[in-house]
């Protein structure tokens, strides 16, 4: 068990982390490249960049959007995301792991905050799952991954919470810690290939929607040629 834990915490962590970073960078680069190419091809290049940036910011800090549609869901979703982002990055136990290696200064969450935020994430995550099942429209739209993802994301939170805040025996602690780490690593590896990719693509959405209406010129002729429709009447 000790060895397994060491392995999961060491090489496996580094590998999965690297895969996540590379994977996310890859899709971000592809998205940016496509965006750039579309813009270059566009016949009309007057994109309202300023307005689009404002819209993008409005979604990154979605305070103004909360109460427009489905307010309860939106509040829970925002709180869930806050926990998801803050806890793994600023948890003292996590920071210590790489700080020992790198020696970089880093902010950490106090015990009280870590406790509260973790609990908040778990509660809001569960509420989102229940909400998805209970809401007629979103349960109709939902795919398997829409239920599996919140569950998957909660595993490290629940196991971590138990290990850190509830007294468990050393055996159980090790087992839970192993699940904690492996689940986290699985999430890392899957992120770039699933809807969780929105963590890097989200800021681009408004730009994509704006540029998408900018068409390249002379496509009538080209599409006709490709489809063998040249000279065909309307």
């Amino acid at each position: 068990m000790e060895h397994l834990l060491e392995f999961a915490r060491g090489p496996l962590f580094r590998l999965s982390f690297a895969l996540m970073v590379l994977g996310l960078l890859r899709i971000l680069a592809l998205d940016l490249f496509e965006l750039y190419r579309a813009y270059r091809q566009a016949g009309d290049k007057t994109v309202p960049w300023g307005k689009t940036t404002l819209k993008a910011l409005e979604w990154l800090v979605p305070i103004r959007k909360v109460f427009v549609n489905r307010p309860v869901y939106s509040v829970f979703s925002i709180l869930f995301h806050i926990g998801l982002l803050l806890v793994p990055i600023f948890l003292y136990a996590h920071v210590k792991l790489w700080q020992d290696d790198l020696g970089l200064p880093w902010l950490t969450l106090s015990y009280k905050w870590a406790y509260g935020l973790t609990l908040l994430t778990i509660i809001t995550g569960l509420a989102l799952i229940v909400g998805r099942i209970a809401n007629r429209t979103s349960s109709f739209l939902s795919r398997k991954q829409d239920y599996l993802w919140p569950i998957a994301l909660l595993i490290p939170f629940v196991t971590g919470f138990i290990c850190a805040h509830l007294g468990v025996g050393p055996k159980a602690y090790q087992a839970l810690m192993l699940i904690h780490i492996l689940a986290g690593e699985l999430i890392f590896v899957l992120m770039p290939f699933t809807k969780i990719a929105h963590c890097v693509l989200m800021p681009l959405s408004q730009y994509v929607a704006a540029v998408a209406w900018k068409f390249p010129p002379d496509t009538d002729d080209k599409v006709c040629t490709t489809l063998n429709k040249k000279g065909e009447p309307v």
């Binding site: 549609n69 429209t137 009447p233």
Partner: protein, 490 residues
């Protein structure tokens, strides 16, 4: 904004198809709009071929790639959509509708999808799915209200637009739109209402006589005047149905003295290409460019029409020279400008009834023209009321995306598409509903008629025509005999 769901009886009426069963059988297509005969064989393959060709020569791939990764399936968009709010049918949720096309893209145009399809033995696109898209994409009015509140930034209007484009390439498009576009691009008259030039000039002369009589001012519709500042393209149907709007516009130009002209070579602002085919969109936009060039005009002036304005403003630069393309302005921008500069005077004592303003989606959604017409109205209408939500968050009239031109789906438009709008109009209690768009006007008139709301739907310039004050120097001292009562000249 929520509304009462439609009753089963209303549903039945709204979805009743006027298509003959034998035609449906032959076309193997169950939709509510008429479709010209098309090759019914091998539809999935031809759909995918068209999709591939369009992807190859367009920018859509960028958006689709982004959207398939982003969708959160949160259903916030269901709250925004006036169609879903009226029907409560889960298949009308915008995200569901878009997924119809996104799933085809994912399955057939991404490596992951192709691999998964092969491994799971998924047959991919089927006739049934094409049928569902053919129905669904014409239930949507492409108003894009749902996109405002989608956290994933998915533009369902764009997907509806693309879905209809691909369908039209395999022959599935509303006959009403195709026939009009054919006349516009290949017909003898060259416009969607099939108005011959002599009929146009007659109409304009007739209106001039009317205006002289009513206002004692020689208000002209200049025709084919080369070198004019503005070349005018209204929705051509205005020449048949919106005389008051046209007279208002002519009156404004007479008051300011600026040069404008209507060209006999081409005088139609309508562009159904925006609703069903980018290829048609391009061809029609090029006709506006050619006519402006022929007349050596300086700017393109679009009349009171949302989709005509949007298709010219955003696609003239696309297809006709980028930043060198002719500038496009909507008539309300012009009128606002001259009003602000004090070149247009309006009598505040003429229109005393309650007035409300409806934002046409195509000019308001992206925040282009929202406050200008309101400022003008508030300045001379004593009793202006606002409907909420409005502006870029407005509610569609229910006839957007070209659906208003499909007469056979009127029951759908007035019981489902326009339901939220009808609620809103009723609440406002207005007498005049100002809708500066040919499409909105037609839809709203049918809506208030079918929903029995006592409202008069007018254009902005209809009211301006009533209230305009001309300089004394413009008044004719004596009306020429033949234009007077109209009796002597006949």
């Amino acid at each position: 904004m929520r509304t009462k769901r439609i009753t089963p009886e209303e549903r039945e009426r709204a979805f009743k198809s006027l298509r003959k069963p034998d035609v449906e059988e032959k076309q193997r297509l169950h939709v509510r709009y008429h479709v010209e005969d098309f090759d019914v064989n091998d539809r999935p393959r031809r759909f995918l071929e068209a999709f591939a060709a369009i992807l190859k020569h367009s920018n859509y791939r960028m958006a689709l790639e982004h959207f398939i990764r982003m969708s959160a399936k949160c259903s916030r968009c269901a709250v925004s959509c006036q169609v879903y709010q009226a029907t409560g049918d889960l298949k009308d949720i915008p995200c569901y509708r878009s997924e119809l096309l996104l799933s085809v893209y994912r399955r057939h145009f991404t490596y992951g999808g192709m691999l998964k399809g092969r491994l799971l033995g998924d047959p991919g696109l089927t006739d049934e799915k094409i049928q569902e898209m053919a129905e669904s994409f014409w239930n949507c009015t492409a108003c894009r209200r749902c996109s405002i509140d989608c956290p994933s930034g998915i533009d369902h209007g764009l997907i509806t637009h693309l879905g209809r484009y691909i369908l039209s390439e395999i022959g599935i498009a509303p006959r009403a739109l195709v026939v009009s576009t054919r006349e516009q691009l290949e017909g003898a008259t060259g416009n969607t209402s099939a108005i011959p030039v002599p009929a146009l000039t007659d109409t304009l002369e007739f209106l001039e006589e009317d205006m002289l009589e009513e206002k004692q001012v020689e208000i002209k519709f200049p025709i084919d005047v080369e070198g004019s500042e503005y070349v005018f393209f209204p929705a051509v149907s205005d020449f048949l149905m919106e005389a008051e709007t046209l007279m208002g516009i002519a009156a404004v130009f007479t008051a300011t003295g600026d040069s404008w002209t209507t060209g006999t070579g081409y005088f139609d602002g309508i562009n159904y290409g925006l609703f069903y085919s980018d290829r048609m969109l391009e061809r029609i936009v090029k006709k506006i460019d050619a006519e402006t060039r022929r007349l050596k005009g300086k700017k393109v002036l679009i009349g009171e029409c949302g989709h005509a304005s949007r298709s010219a403003k955003y696609f003239l630069p696309t297809y006709c020279g980028g930043k060198d393309a002719y500038p496009v302005i909507n008539i309300m921008e012009y009128t606002y400008e001259v009003f602000k500069n004090g070149r247009l005077k309006l009598d505040p004592n003429i229109v005393t009834e309650k007035v409300a303003y409806h934002d046409p989606c195509n000019i308001a959604r992206q925040g282009w023209i929202i406050d200008k017409p309101r400022e003008i109205l508030k300045a001379f209408c004593k009793n202006y009321v606002e409907m909420t939500p409005s502006g870029s968050n407005n509610i569609c009239c229910g006839g957007g995306g070209g659906t208003v031109s499909i007469d056979e789906i009127r029951p759908y438009r007035t019981t489902i598409g326009g339901k939220l709008k009808a609620d809103q109009i009723r609440r406002s209690g207005c007498h005049y509903l100002v809708a500066p768009c040919a499409n909105c006007k037609k839809q709203l008139r049918e809506l208030v008629e079918d929903q029995k709301i006592p409202v008069e739907v007018v254009g902005l310039h209809d009211l301006i025509y009533k209230a305009i004050i001309f300089d004394d120097s413009l008044k004719v001292k004596k009306i020429p005999a033949e234009a007077g009562t109209g009796e002597e000249g006949k």
